[in-house]
């Protein structure tokens, strides 16, 4: 349906869009800043392999001693193996971002349909699902993720699944509570009175009204998923030692901290915090904008 004019309008509309977002007060600014941070990091990570000055995996024999502090050749220093930290920062985000993204997708695909179905059908099906989801919810998230990751082994998909399992209940709960409200609203009843079938009502009338809340949960969860992914790689449940990764660097850098090599741990730490902060800002900003009860 998108016509040429519409696309052009969208592009030119971006700047006034930003302006009107900024006029929405702190929530608007949160979204703008969060988006800027996230996009910058995504861009860095995407271009990392092409712009990094050294190969992040090859130990640089000279100049010893390692780890060496920031210098002209190694702006962010090197780690114990003599690998260039700048190159590792530029390349080290991709696993984490992939894992976080996949886990959110996984949550979406599992949590949303189950939440929709369970609350729409109701009865014992709803009770069963709620019980199962609540029992998952009862576990401390990181512990559950560690247990599942340890069971399933390394790999992006396995990591994503183990993180996803932790967050599926949040999606389920949000969707369920929304559907319980929406299915009693007059427009759902009106749809039924107009001859729509149950499936149509669920997918065409209820789901579109649930989506805004899911988007908010997803962005907030993204930040959580990144921290959990960092945690998993930190304790060695990541992808592998020959792949640059901020979480892995963080854990190695910790060992070097007593010897005064602050640069090995600081820069990956900042990257993880920034990425999580970016997503949190977007999520909080969105939830403030979309939540009419917080509107002034």
């Amino acid at each position: 349906m998108a016509e040429k004019g519409e696309t052009r309008g969208l592009l030119f509309g971006l700047i006034p869009g930003l302006k009107s977002l900024a006029e929405r007060g702190s929530a608007g600014w949160m979204i703008i800043i969060g988006t800027l941070i996230v996009f910058t990091i995504l861009l860095i990570t995407a271009l990392g392999p092409f712009i990094s000055p050294h190969d992040p995996t090859i130990p640089n024999v000279n100049p010893p001693p390692n780890p060496s502090p920031p210098s002209a050749n190694f702006p962010l220093g090197t780690n114990l193996l003599g690998q260039d930290m700048l190159s590792r920062i530029l390349c080290g985000g991709s696993i984490m971002i992939q894992v976080a993204f996949l886990s959110v997708v996984f949550c979406f695909l599992i949590g949303v349909p189950i939440g929709l179905l369970s609350s729409y059908v109701g009865g014992s099906l709803d009770k069963t699902f709620t019980l199962v989801m609540d029992s998952f919810y009862a576990f401390p998230g990181l512990v559950l993720a560690i247990a599942i990751a340890a069971m399933m082994g390394r790999g992006v998909i396995n990591l994503a699944l183990s993180i996803g399992v932790v967050y599926v209940p949040s999606y389920y709960r949000i969707v369920r509570s929304q559907v319980l409200t929406i299915k009693e609203l007059p427009y759902t009843e009106a749809a039924r009175a107009s001859g729509a079938r149950g499936r149509t009502i669920l997918l065409r009338y209820i789901l579109p009204n649930v989506v805004p809340s899911i988007v908010v949960v997803a962005t907030v969860n993204f930040a959580d998923a990144i921290l959990t992914a960092a945690g998993l790689t930190f304790i060695g449940l990541g992808v592998g030692i020959d792949v640059p990764d901020w979480g892995w660097d963080l854990s190695k850098g910790r060992e070097l901290l007593p010897s005064g090599a602050w640069w090995v741990i600081t820069f990956p730490g900042i990257m993880i915090v920034l990425l999580a902060l970016g997503f949190t800002l977007i999520g909080e900003g969105l939830s403030e904008l979309l939540n009419p009860r917080l509107e002034r």
Binding site: E189, A190, S194, G195, A196, T200, P208, N209
Partner: protein, 318 residues
Amino acid sequence: MGLLEVDSLRVDYRTRRGSIRAVDDVSFKLEKGELLGLVGESGSGKSTLGLSIIRLVPPPGVIEQGSIRIDGDDIIDFSAEKMQSIRGSQISFIFQDPMTSLSPVKKISEHFIEFIRTHEPKTTKAEALKRANTTLRDVGILPERIADYPHQFSGGMRQRIMIALAITLNPEIVIADEPTTALDVIVQAKILDLLTELRDRYGMAWILITHDLSVVLERCDKILVMYAGGIVEYADSKELFRNPRHPYTQRLLQGIPNIEFSDQKLKAIPGSPPNLLNPPNGCSFSPRCSEGEPRCKSEKPQLLEVIPNHFVRCFKEM
């Protein structure tokens, strides 16, 4: 044979504390193109009666007995699929609250496309939009506003859109449950004029459910007054206005302000409707009735045709 024939319909809400008879032995006929006003106070069962005609009585409500015939077919025997195909195409329903009757994330055009395709899946978007434009013009909404979202319309306009949706597929019957209650008086009058106008143009029959007798008195052909789930009086509206026979109807008419007697005090009916979990013996209006006889408290009067087409349920008329 009438277009819609409801015969000894009984609808119960089966609650934990017992059965509540929301619709008690109701029979009436609706002719093609007729405007029927269904009047009653809150809890009189008028909405339940309306919903049972499209078989959407909310649980724990159950149609216990009786028949609802449309063109001679009893819809109580219809399968769920058959019912779905009838709703919206043969019988439409308009709800009370226009502010929330449209999905907030859908444009008006999407509502029309969705609705038309529910019943005629092969319709193209362009065709659906063309039909939507026609009906929108019929209800007085500019067709170019079809690309707008519900929140961009006022309450009265939204109710017009609901009416447009309801008549899009040329139904034979449209049931409107308090369509104007959420609107102010001026808009209310305009919407009611619109319903009459659409009836004259397309010849569909309307059932107008309302708690306000004055709203339907001058516009409807027939009026059915309900009290505590049962019909108390059923007659042509002119006849009902001139010769109300049931004390309840008489008191309702006394409650309508009359501009000719400006200092006349309006009379309220003392008391409140009975608890349907524990209905009174005899006539359900007897506790509030000023003209009661002893047997009103013990015996239930039957609905009788006192003169042709004028039905009353009261011992006075027997």
